[in-house]
């Protein structure tokens, strides 16, 4: 009987090598306070210099989200005191962000939903404060990281929607190559706001929820919050505007601050940075850095290659995988075969070796060749798996491996006949039993022949030769 409205604020680290306003390396996991300089440490007298690559990535994301792009984007200072923020103000955007009024289509279950984007704005990240006993330690490596904030309209309804949105969005930024979307390492973060109201009564009082460090927590926290607010409405209590913190250990949200305690950020124009006016060339580069959007790609994979929705879902998850898939098909392999290999044996090997498809020795051409060798009857599926292992170990083409390792399928009945004769001689009693009517022992003999052939004998040929020799 209630209607719920969910909006998300997503922050992504832009993969622009250096920080937003200085030349320091923007890299996760380095020793504390090593990627710092007078500028990002907020020393007296320093000035920000704009990282143009990061601003270009910002325009690319805004463009991919179908935003109206600003021809004259402006920077503001957002003032608040926090120990991990060197200047105690954050350079952000307010009046004229990089992009606004966009949308993204996402797949929720079987349907497509359009979520409106309020704005996309560029800003700098803060450092990190770690509490250790009665001390507080600060690491400023992250201070000044280029950050992009994407604010959606409250178009989502339940936690599952938000989870789906985040997955789609993560895929998008990975496709664009602007962020790895790693929520555990904090390169993608999410805050959410929820309000509920009687159907048709519009938005309710907004509650903000912070500390959502995975898409699963986003779902849980939002559904928890909808239930909490519904419960309050049932009891006739008013929901108050506030900020709550998700406690992942207790699976519940806890009050953080009330509306009255909200910061007054005192935004005002950043006097040290003139507005950025993208040139025609800059905008051309933005256009060139766009690619087919994940959802469009998924639909094309289904329509052009006959993949099922689940198969296409798997293949389109990573842009590289989808490219790989199409390249393998282009090289002559059958689409469903390519899918099968990628989703099973290749996936297992990648997990085992810890490599990504991108850096592993398997290329689309090698996989296509491997598949065609099975089709030609040159090797069995079983051998093919071995060959795949060798490709990963030795970084060689499948034909080379087969030649070197003599991994060629034996399908010549005469050659197999010789092996069969040796096996029969060694297992005379079994042959007698079969002749006496114990057909089950036939399988044992097939196994022995395969073993003796080093796995290279073609099983159908083995079976027919055995039948002939044992039963006449």
């Amino acid at each position: 009987m209630y209607q719920s409205f969910i909006g998300l604020e997503i922050h992504i680290h832009l993969d622009a090598e250096t920080k937003a306003f200085c030349g320091c390396k923007a890299h996760f996991g380095d020793e504390e306070n090593t990627n710092v300089c007078p500028v990002c440490m907020g020393f007296p007298g320093v000035l920000p210099t704009l990282n143009e690559k990061a601003i270009q990535m910002s325009y690319t994301v805004a463009r991919a989200l179908n935003c109206k792009l600003s021809p004259n984007t402006k920077f503001e200072r957002k003032n608040y005191f926090y120990p991990d923020m060197p200047k105690n103000y954050q350079i952000s955007q307010f009046a004229e962000p990089v992009g606004r009024d966009g949308y993204i289509d996402i797949e929720i279950g079987d349907s497509i939903k359009r979520v409106r984007i309020h704005d996309v704005h560029f800003e700098e990240d803060a450092g990190k404060m770690i509490h250790a006993g009665d001390m507080s330690l600060l690491d400023y490596n992250r201070a000044g990281y280029p950050l992009l904030e994407i604010v959606t309209e409250p178009d989502l309804v339940i936690g599952e929607d938000a989870e789906a949105f985040l997955k789609s969005f993560r895929r998008l930024v990975r496709y664009l190559g602007v962020c790895d979307g790693n929520m555990e390492e904090g390169s993608m973060r999410c805050d959410a706001n929820v309000s509920i109201n009687l159907k048709g009564a519009g938005l309710g009082e907004k509650v903000e929820i912070k500390n959502l460090n995975s898409s699963r927590f986003v779902r849980k926290a939002l559904n928890y919050e909808i239930e909490r607010q519904s419960g309050m409405m049932d009891e006739g209590k008013a929901v108050v505007q506030e900020t709550r913190l998700w406690n992942e250990n207790r699976d519940q949200s806890e009050p953080m601050r009330k509306k009255e305690d909200a910061n007054d950020y005192r935004y005002f124009p950043e006097p040290d940075l003139p507005p950025f006016r993208p040139s025609e060339e800059f905008m051309q580069d933005v256009e060139n850095s766009l690619c087919e959007m994940p959802l469009v790609r998924k639909q094309r994979l289904m329509n052009s290659y006959g993949l099922s929705s689940d198969q296409a879902e798997y293949i389109h998850e990573e842009k590289y995988m989808a490219d790989f898939f199409e390249q393998a098909v282009f090289s002559g392999a059958e689409a469903v075969q390519v899918y099968s290999w990628l989703s099973s044996d290749v996936k297992k090997l990648l997990n085992r070796t810890g490599l990504s498809l991108e850096d592993c020795p398997l290329s689309a051409e090698r996989l296509a060749k491997l598949i065609s060798m099975i089709g030609d009857g040159q090797i069995s599926g079983k051998i093919a798996k071995k060959v795949l292992d060798y490709i990963f170990d030795e970084d060689k083409d499948p034909e080379t491996i087969c030649n070197e390792k003599k991994l060629v399928q034996i399908s010549d009945p005469t050659a197999i006949g010789k092996i069969v004769e040796d096996v029969l001689a060694a297992h005379a009693q079994v042959v007698e039993d079969i002749k006496a009517g114990d057909a089950r022992q036939m399988g044992f003999l097939v196994g022995q022949v395969m073993k003796a052939s080093g796995g290279n004998a073609a099983p159908p040929v083995v079976q027919s030769v055995l039948k002939e020799k044992v039963l006449g």
Binding site: G45, V46, L47, P86, N88, Y89, L138
Partner: protein, 462 residues
């Protein structure tokens, strides 16, 4: 190089002269206290680059960064901070051969008109040690006036170079906003301030300006420019309301007008009705920016920290409570107030609109006059303490100098007369990037009246 410049180029580079020069500085310093740090050898390189300023010593206001020198900003907050880098303007001067010898006193973070707001030292006027040297670049002006250096860098946010130059009887240039890189200048009011020059002669002022200007990749608001080369013929002289100036300053002002007429300039009278809004607009914008610029001083990464703090918030609160002086606190509070949500339209936004109106008011005169003339400050150097002018009156008196900062135009304070034993200066203002027009007029006037020598001044150290 002139004889004056040649003499100075030997002050630090000849061992014998250096010794005598040091002694001269020490003697003066007991009287005036212009330096916070004086050490000519620290940045003296064996191979001084050849350039227009080779070997010439200079001092730097202590809110401008020079590597391995302190950067106190006249504040207890930064009393022990040593700068890890050098400002671009200073680097440019060093490339031109100039030798940095020390850091000069100032009002804390540049906030003041007397240098009495320094938390670290008192600076006196070389003409009368009972009086202030002006501010906030009081240390630089006093050092140049006493002959401790032939030029010094200051910063000018609302008159901080021009007013002390006038009080001490030397030249003080505030360049066009953006022409000299601000990288390395501790920010007080970013949209208003520039690094400026205090110098003994017009030509030195010009040489220094030429050497330090130019676009800097570290400052996105900096730019290159080409001056028009226009010859000044007409001077627009601001009409002075009855009683607006102290009688000595008015007399000095009038005699400058006479000299200009005699030198053949056409004089027209100008009026600036927006002048009465200059100070409120200036203090609204300056304090708003200051409230953000000074937020970084929280005792965590550098600077003053309390002996004990309960938690990080307490640490920041105590650092700022103990580290900042009253004037700084006043301006930070004022700036925070004018930026509050719901009040921005009433204060900050309105001040920006007034700023535009003032710019229009000033610029309309450039059709009729090549250069504008106005007073620097309504009084000569005042006494320490608030017996002559209290701190509120000092702020009100900034109206003539703040104008150039609000509109971003270049302005030069030129010594004009001695009145009752104190120097008085006059100010010229030109369209953006037209510093050259200021130097033209200043050179003409310099033939009639040169920077006066304070009792005890000499350059014959040996």
């Amino acid at each position: 190089m002139s004889d004056f410049e040649k003499k100075w180029s030997e002050a630090c580079t000849q061992p014998q002269t250096l010794k005598a020069y040091r002694k001269y500085v020490e003697q003066w310093e007991e009287q005036i206290g212009s330096f916070l740090e004086f050490d000519p050898l620290r940045s003296l390189e064996a191979d001084i680059p050849q350039g227009p300023l080779t070997g010439i010593p200079f001092a730097v206001k202590d809110n401008i960064a020079v590597k391995n020198y302190k950067l106190t900003c006249g504040s207890k907050m930064l009393e022990h901070l040593v700068s890890p880098y050098t400002a671009t303007a200073v680097k440019n001067l060093q490339k031109a051969g100039a030798v940095m010898v020390g850091k000069t006193n100032l009002d804390e973070f540049g906030m003041g008109s007397s240098t009495d707001n320094s938390a670290l030292k008192q600076t006196n006027n070389p003409w009368d040690t009972e009086r202030v040297a002006g501010g906030s670049s009081g240390g630089s002006a006093a050092a140049v006036a006493a002959g401790l250096v032939p030029f010094a860098l200051g910063s000018d946010t609302g008159g901080s170079v021009r007013q002390p130059a006038s009080f001490c009887g030397v030249y003080g240039l505030k360049p066009t906003y953006g022409v000299v890189s601000r990288y390395g200048l501790t920010a007080y009011a970013s949209s208003l301030e520039v690094i400026g020059v205090v110098a003994r002669t017009t030509s030195m002022c010009k040489t220094v300006f030429e050497a330090m200007k130019g676009k800097d990749p570290m400052d996105h608001t900096s730019m290159d420019h080409t001056p028009s080369g226009k010859e000044v013929k007409t001077v627009g002289v601001l009409k002075i309301e009855e009683g607006a100036l102290n009688p000595e300053v008015k007399a000095s002002y009038d005699s400058t007008v006479e000299r200009l007429k005699k030198a053949g300039y056409e004089i027209i009278e100008i009026e600036l009705p927006t002048l009465e809004y200059v100070v409120p607009a200036y203090y609204t914008i300056a304090t708003a920016e200051a409230s953000a610029n000074l937020a970084r001083y929280n005792g965590i990464r550098y600077g003053h920290a309390p002996v004990y703090a309960e938690n990080p918030t307490d640490l920041m609160r105590k650092s700022r409570h103990e580290g900042f002086g009253d004037e700084v606190k006043l301006r930070v509070l004022l700036g925070t107030y004018v930026l509050r949500s719901g009040f921005q339209d009433q204060y900050y936004v309105k001040a920006q609109k007034i700023r535009t109106a003032i710019r229009n008011d000033v610029e309309r005169w450039y059709d009729k006059a090549d250069i504008l003339m106005m007073p620097v400050f309504p009084t000569p150097a005042f006494h320490h303490g608030s017996s002559d002018l209290d701190t509120f009156q000092q702020k009100q008196a900034d109206l003539y100098t703040c104008t150039a900062n609000l509109v971003g135009h270049p302005a030069l304070s030129v010594p004009s007369t001695m009145e009752n034993g104190l120097p008085v200066g006059v100010q010229f203002m030109a369209p953006p990037f037209e510093e050259d027009r200021l130097f033209q007029v200043s050179s003409v006037l310099e033939k009639e009246f040169q920077a006066p020598e304070a009792p005890g001044y000499h350059t014959d150290w040996s």
